[in-house]
């Protein structure tokens, strides 16, 4: 291996060479004012492409799509009902013998959910980011997408992505009025509500899965084996 120190420092020359090759391939000069202004208008217009034709109640469509992607969905009237709903959900899990340890009463949640009465429901839920051995993670959601039954999570100090990806079971608490039509509307909400891009926008559509062995779908490839969405009105 040649190189070592210097490849990053001397990268400006590589950049110039690649850019020169691109311009030569396109047969254009260094003066790109017209193309720059065309690009600027595209960025300002942000046109949408063809989209599915929505029909029916977005909450019901969200729930139907989420079920198709192996998530489960339940609706609650008030957020205070979440802990007992979570306890019921964990009780109801039908686990294969190899996965029996996943039936747990302990887990972690996002800080925004830390004030709920978890102990009253017989659960031990700590408001901290998940570690590699936590079996249950309860998160909120930035919003959700009716078109595909997708949860949208946006990372931040109080909304760590580890809580949705590391535990065996991911439970997401979603406000019904945060269900939007498509990815485009999720981006519009983000632009309205946030000044800068977060490190991560995670679109989650069901549990982690793989088909890499004989195209047989197996859930729980690396992340959650199951995703349960609690929609609160």
């Amino acid at each position: 291996m040649s190189g070592g120190p210097g490849a990053i420092e001397s990268n400006a020359a590589v950049r110039a060479a690649v850019m020169a090759r691109v311009r030569s391939a396109l047969g254009v000069s260094d003066d790109r004012a017209a193309a720059q202004s065309a690009a600027a208008s595209r960025l300002a217009a942000r046109p949408f492409g063809p989209r599915p034709l929505p029909a029916g109640d977005p909450i019901e469509r969200f729930a139907a799509r989420a079920l198709e992607l192996s998530s489960t969905v339940e609706r609650l009237a008030r957020v205070e009902q979440v802990p007992s709903a979570v306890a019921r959900y964990l009780e109801s899990l039908d686990l294969a013998p190899a996965l029996a340890a996943q039936r747990t009463r302990r887990g972690v949640c996002w800080p925004e959910l830390g004030t709920l009465d978890w102990t009253g429901a017989g659960l031990e839920i700590e408001p901290r980011p998940a570690r590699g051995d936590d079996r249950l993670g309860v998160t909120g959601a930035f919003c959700a997408i009716a078109e595909t039954g997708t949860l949208v999570l946006v990372t931040g100090a109080a909304t760590p992505s580890s809580t949705m990806i590391l535990p065996d079971t991911h439970i997401a608490v979603l406000r019904a009025d945060r269900i939007v039509e498509g990815m485009e509307e999720a981006y519009a909400l983000l632009r309205d509500e946030r000044a800068t891009m977060p490190r991560g926008i995670h679109f989650v559509s069901g549990p982690s899965r793989t088909g890499d062995i004989e195209q047989t779908i197996v859930l729980g490839a690396h992340g959650p084996f199951r995703v349960h969405v609690v929609v609160v009105d």
Binding site: M1, G3, G4, G6, A7, I8, V14, V18, M19, R21, V22, R23, S24, A25, L26, V28, A39, R42, L43, R46, P47, F48, G49, P50, R51, L69, A98, G132, T148, T155, G156, A157, P160, S161, S162, I165, G182, M183, M197, P198, R199, G200, H202, F203, V204, S205, P207, S208, R209, T210, G211, D212, I213, E214, Q215, T216, V218, A221, H222, G223
Partner: protein, 473 residues
Amino acid sequence: MRVASIEFKARAGEKLADATLQRNLVRVKGKFAAKRAAAMAGFHDFEGLREAGREIRQRTLDDLDVWLGIFERSATAGGATVLWARTPDDINRLVLEIAFRHGVRKIVKSKSMVSEESSLDRAIEAAGLEVIETDLGEYILQINGYEPPSHLVGPALHKSKEEVADLFHRRHKTARKEGIEDLCLEARAVLREHYLTADMGISGGNFFVAETGSVVLVTNEGNATLATGLPRVHVAISGIEKIVPTLEDAATLLRLLPRSATGQPISNYVDVLTGVRGEGEGGVEHMYYILVDAGRTDVLASEVREALRCIRCGACMNHCPVYQSIGGHPYGWVYPGPIGSILTPMYAGLENAHPLPAASTLCNQCGVVCPVKIPLPDLQRKLRERTFERRLAPWSERAALRLWSWVAARPALYGASMRVVARLLRIWGGRERRIRRLPPGGGWTAGRDLPAPDGRTFREQYAARRRAGGKPR
């Protein structure tokens, strides 16, 4: 990765004779195609979607320098460092330098086809660092001595569960598992430990968004989410052609990519990652992009530039009768199937890969399913012309083609010789009217019979019908 594409013919023959591989191919045959067809039928305007996908990809390619500049500015403003690689070796040098700069010992990697072009994993290991592929298919190939991938989406689909079970038993030194679920659980446990202890994550990039300086990663396993979310350094590597203008454009392409690849309306995890962690947040402290040329600018300058629109869905190979019969390995490099038959000659040299554009029936199954409307058979034909001009094909093939074109350009001579040939073939076919062996086309008749012509050429029959007063049908 070594380019073995010149041995296509011999390797295709071996694969056709490999009973285990043929069983594995039959098992997965058509599954992707059927799922794609169902997903396409479920979208009211799939043709409109393909056209929109073509337009978005072509727009950035037409002004690629401008879009690269915009991406670089946005990404830098978002807190990432943007680096450029002119050659595959540049990728490896940059990755190692980043690793040394941040005291990295262990690297987890989510799928990156570009990094296979430069054999990045082996360069990392040669430098004394540890690297673990986390996509299950790629992991299987890595622990099997870096076996080459055979498919863009399912790199290990050529293997049976029994082969994977033997491999895990041998490499993990665990009891041999029988079922696919148990194999997946075992891989999960092994890989989980690596995610938690890695210092750096390397990913590819399905799209680079110019507007926001973000990378879009698409997986079903969630391995990219883990590999880019937990370690303190993230390096995203992809070709310069992967730029799209806006998040909305990425949304349009995300309606095309999973439907075309696996028939899903959306992949399970789509991550849009920008810069480094915020105040009080865990995860990535340093983010780097490596924008790779490595032949892309040559393609951009060439008559096959439309191949750069590719979004790596694998639909072309899922629908290719040649790929379906031999699998991905005979293509001999990183990208198999119809798209590989264009990219491999362009990235690795036509002299090293000219059998690939020839290994096609030009049936255009690939062209009609391509989500960004790459006219693959047209591009294959163009590379065949270059193969002929550069005298890369065998002497006998070139001589035969030259003779053919000389005769075909002289109608009287062509008609006369065809009359002779048609009669000879009829006699050769005998009473059964089947030609079982034809010396100049021995390869063709080795696998099937050729029906013998009835003795008169098309032009003779056409003229006879006109004389008889009948309408030509």
